[in-house]
């Protein structure tokens, strides 16, 4: 899984925000604000990653168990899929 081309991540008013650009902004004209773990997952997905590796990334940073990490990953991927920024 990978973030499609056409999204920029920037901090605005202290909050990380994802904004679609180009063709992506025609399909999804909103914006997405991320928390800290969202930024971690986003950056991993910019490089390309899978469900297990994303959970590993969360486990390396946060004191959560694997089941929790996987459920966070699934929820995040579901959100990104809905707005069409993942391929």
């Amino acid at each position: 899984m990978k973030i499609k081309n056409g999204f920029v991540l920037r901090e605005v008013a202290g909050t990380p925000v994802v904004l679609p650009v180009g063709q992506a902004s025609v399909d999804f004209s909103g914006m997405l604000s991320l928390n800290k773990s969202g930024v971690l997952l986003w950056k991993a997905l910019e490089e390309g990653s899978d469900r297990e590796a994303l959970a590993d990334a969360l486990l390396a940073e946060y004191e959560v168990d694997r089941a929790e990490a996987l459920s966070d990953v699934d929820e995040f991927i579901e959100t990104l899929t809905k707005i069409g920024c993942i391929e």
């Binding site: 920037r10 901090e11 605005v12 008013a13 909050t15 650009v21 180009g22 902004s25 914006m31 604000s33």
Partner: protein, 242 residues
Amino acid sequence: MDGNNSILYCRIADLIAEIPAEGGLAPLCAGYAIDSADSPDIVVRASDYHTPTKFAATKETVAYMESGFQFYRQLLRFNGFYIHSSAVAYEGRAYLFSGPSGMGKSTHTRLWQSTFGEEAKIFNDDKPVLRRIDGRWYAYGTPWCGKNHININMKVPLGGICFLKQAEENRIRRLGSMEALQRLLSQTLRKRLNTEEAARLLSHVDKLIQEIPIFELENRPEPAAALLSYETMRRSAEEIGL
């Protein structure tokens, strides 16, 4: 001179712009004309105009929309962007009333005019420019002023921005930074930006949110709503020295 192929030289928002006259732009640009320009900041090219494929558009509409798109896109390089709004200048400050079409932007600034008289000047009714210059925000009139042709070439220190919502009662509140960001991004140039331009836009909006008070006014189209927005916005502009 052949009016169809001539170039207009303008000073818009303190930037030198070269704009093709074709498609009826000359009258809109008249208040911004300068004699000539050796090194324009912004160049609009008719050869880059896109003609929409999904609906029929006249040559005039295409020229108006596309010249605006090119101007506002290049404006991002000069600490500036537009907010889709009706802009009124009063007591030395600019107040912008924004929101989706049909939200009563023009109605509200006309209420300012009828309530405060001739001193309240509507200087743009669609896409005024905001620019941050030496740490201060200014609003400017532009030729892209909307269908009512309310178009005054002015530069006014920005006092505040207010998003409008129709309601049964008049009520105003300051927006939090994420709410303000969402509203601002929904009423500015978003489509057809590249990554660098989008990053610039976010950085300008980030500063704007930190430096300019942004409100939501739930309102009925009546003078009391104009008084409420004026008193609230003037007070907070004064408090932070705008």
